[in-house]
Amino acid sequence: MISKIESACLIGMEAARVQVEVSLAKGAPTFSMVGLPDASVREARDRVVAAIRNTGFEFPSRRVTVNLAPADLRKEGACFDLAIAVGILMASEAIAPKRWPRCIWLGELALDGSIRPVRGALPLARSLAQQAGAALALPRGNLEEVSFVSGVDLYPFLHLREVVQWLQAEGALVPAARTVDWQAPPAHGLVDLAEIKGQAMAKRALEIAAAGRHNLLLIGSPGTGKSMLAQALPGILPAWNLQESLDATQVHSIAGTLHGTGLLPHRPYRSPHHSVSTVGLMGGGDVPSPGEISLAHRGVLFLDELPEFRRDALEALRQPLEQGIVQIHRARGRATYPADFMLIAAMNPCPCGFRGHPKKECQCTALRIQKYIGKISGPLLDRIDLQVELPALNVEDLFNEKQKVESSVSVKIRVEQARRVQEDRYRPAAGRVRDNAHLSPKEMRKFCGLTPDGEAILKASVERLGLSARAFDRIRKVARTIADLEASSTIEARHVAEAIQYRFFDRQAPFY
């Protein structure tokens, strides 16, 4: 006797359908599994046997062969358990289903027959939803994250017994009811801008970065508030929509960091320590899995102490920063993960941290400073539009309590307004681009023309301040964002002038 059931697994972010075929034959009782299962799939044998017995059925004393097709696709993970168990029950005729929905079965079995949530349910559901009439039988624990995916019917289960009863019941199939409406969660930053005193210029740079999705580098002595500023960034980013929320959550679904919480409540904010390995940052491993940059997809990646990161890790950031994806090639497979994040990085002005400090003396020689800054390669710096130096301030002396400080909420309103301006401008172009930071050189020439005054100030800065000419494109983009914040359609001299102030590395005085 034979039964066929459908399941699926992930290749990168895409679903691959897997046929689970179970055949029972006469002979000494054995249980074999074929179709390139890895260790975690082979262990399914013991789980399935125990789960079937503990649900009150007899495990067939026959030669049981389970085939996972297509045979050349490597399968891993515990998500086939449920399909295998149901297939065995069907093949042994232990149950006689009254109805048989064409659905894809996902779920890991516990020894007592209960069904545990699996990794990657969200990307699987999203990928399957692109095919008409898809239905998914899945663990109850995965329902929360999947319930906002439209175009796919969901049948959640807690226990194998429940599955059996459902198959043997009569009447029409009723998919699980969805949580009604998705609502954007309230703004959430780990820190409110109002909590940070002083650093007016850095705050302004943060606002511009958020408005145009520019990457940002903060340079300042210890204690100038670099980390706090970075933590305030998620709070001023525009409220996210369902699509973005699903995009971000599905990466976390693969990484298995959701713990049954449903969609991510806020934009992800990832701050890996500088000792992180290249694989930890980029993703990878024997069987590819997403790294920190993908977990920061649609959110913020904060790299504190940028020059302390491994050189190869920093270099590897270049492709994702440009394309919003990361490609991982390994002997056992290839995967492409999304990695469209805003980079905010922080560093000291010199190895000891006190260059330019009004009170403390910097002990670094020019050569050491050059070496320290040289750890960040030119191509990486080229992808960071805004570079701001933070002065070391004696905050208590400077600012009285009464001083009015703007809160994140009011900055966020301006940011959202500027993003709408950009979307309106780029929508007719129908490209991938939706923000100023990711314009191609061609689009930039089209959209970021300066007024003659703007060109003049750029030229003057090169002549008088030693501004390097390769900063031009960055300055144009940033100036475009500054103009958008004012809802100005032209880029005026004042916008260019401000943008030049955020180019720390292009206007360095010569070292002595």
């Binding site: 002083g198 007016a200 701001v388 002065p391």
Partner: protein
């Protein structure tokens, strides 16, 4: 080692007539000098400018200002091509179109420190490089104090800008005193470890100077017209350009003591985006300076 041919190196011994007069007086004069660039150097109007390798922004500014003024009055600067004050003095002299002499502590086969390599070739082209060491002598710390006696020996006086406790600059000053040269010292902050050496020299009788005029006075050059025409970056003549009222207001708030943008926001009551724009325009007009630590000060 440099692969450059040894050909354009001149060798001068103390028997030659063009051996510098200042060195001839010394008991421990080097018997042989190797030279690249302009030769012979004049006997008069040479000033040694030395200081710490780890210069503070104040030290660099003082060195730049004094060097500029000295060079404009046709003084020739002498220094040791180390990083910090030395490099600043050489570079400023070249920028002002003047003549600078660098005394090396190693042979011409090497360039040390590496970051000064561009400066090395610029001085070879427009100034003079001198060493008493043969071509293949490596940079060795034991040789550096010795070359300081040549710096002071060539010069009529030595100006010390920032010297720490037991620094090379103090050694040069000591040689200068022994050789009967004038020692001028720029004072620093009592809180700065980089001024300890300077202040000790002042206590020991060196002359405290605040401006180039005090040095020029010593050599009877005060009031003389700048002999070297100073090539100014042409398109923007700093003072001539008018300031808008807004710009004037910011200039009035600033002084030579640097202020951060936050302090300027506080004092002016303006939003930072407007301030950023005004500050850049003032910088382009050459009225203010941007300093490490996001600080601004007036340019004098």
């Amino acid at each position: 080692m440099n692969s450059e041919p040894v050909a354009n190196i001149r060798k001068v011994t103390e028997l030659d007539p063009d051996y510098p007069k200042g060195l001839r007086e010394l008991a421990d004069r080097p018997p042989v000098l190797y030279i690249k660039g302009r030769w012979p150097v004049p006997d008069r109007c040479l000033i040694g400018i030395v200081g710490t390798r780890r210069a503070s922004p104040y030290g660099l500014e003082a060195a730049t200002r004094l060097t500029t003024d000295l060079v404009r009055r046709s003084m020739v600067t002498v220094s040791g091509l180390a990083s910090g004050i030395d490099a600043c003095a050489h570079r400023t002299t070249i920028q002002e179109g003047g003549w600078t002499v660098a005394v090396l502590g190693h042979g011409f086969g090497f360039q040390y420190p590496k970051e000064n390599a561009p400066l090395f070739s610029e001085i070879a082209a427009r100034g003079t490089l001198i060493t008493e060491f043969s071509y293949e002598t490596r940079p060795d710390p034991v040789n550096f104090p010795r070359r300081n006696r040549i710096i002071s020996g060539l010069s009529q006086g030595v100006l010390v800008v920032e010297a720490g406790h037991r620094s090379g600059a103090s050694i040069t000053a000591r040689y200068a005193a022994e050789q009967g040269r004038d020692v001028f010292v720029v004072p620093g902050s009592i809180f700065s470890s980089r001024s300890v050496g300077c202040h000790r020299l002042i206590k020991e009788g060196a002359r405290l100077v605040e401006s180039a005029d005090e040095i020029l006075e010593e050599y009877g050059l005060v009031g003389s017209q700048p002999s070297i025409s100073v090539p100014h970056p042409a398109p923007f003549s700093a003072r001539a350009e008018g300031l808008t009222t807004v710009e004037q207001k910011i200039v009035n708030l600033l002084s030579s003591v640097p202020l951060s943008v936050d302090e300027l926001v506080e004092l002016s009551g303006w939003p930072v985006d407007r301030l950023a724009e005004v500050l850049l325009s003032l910088e382009i007009k050459g009225r203010i300076q941007h300093k490490p630590g996001q600080l601004y000060a007036t340019k004098t």
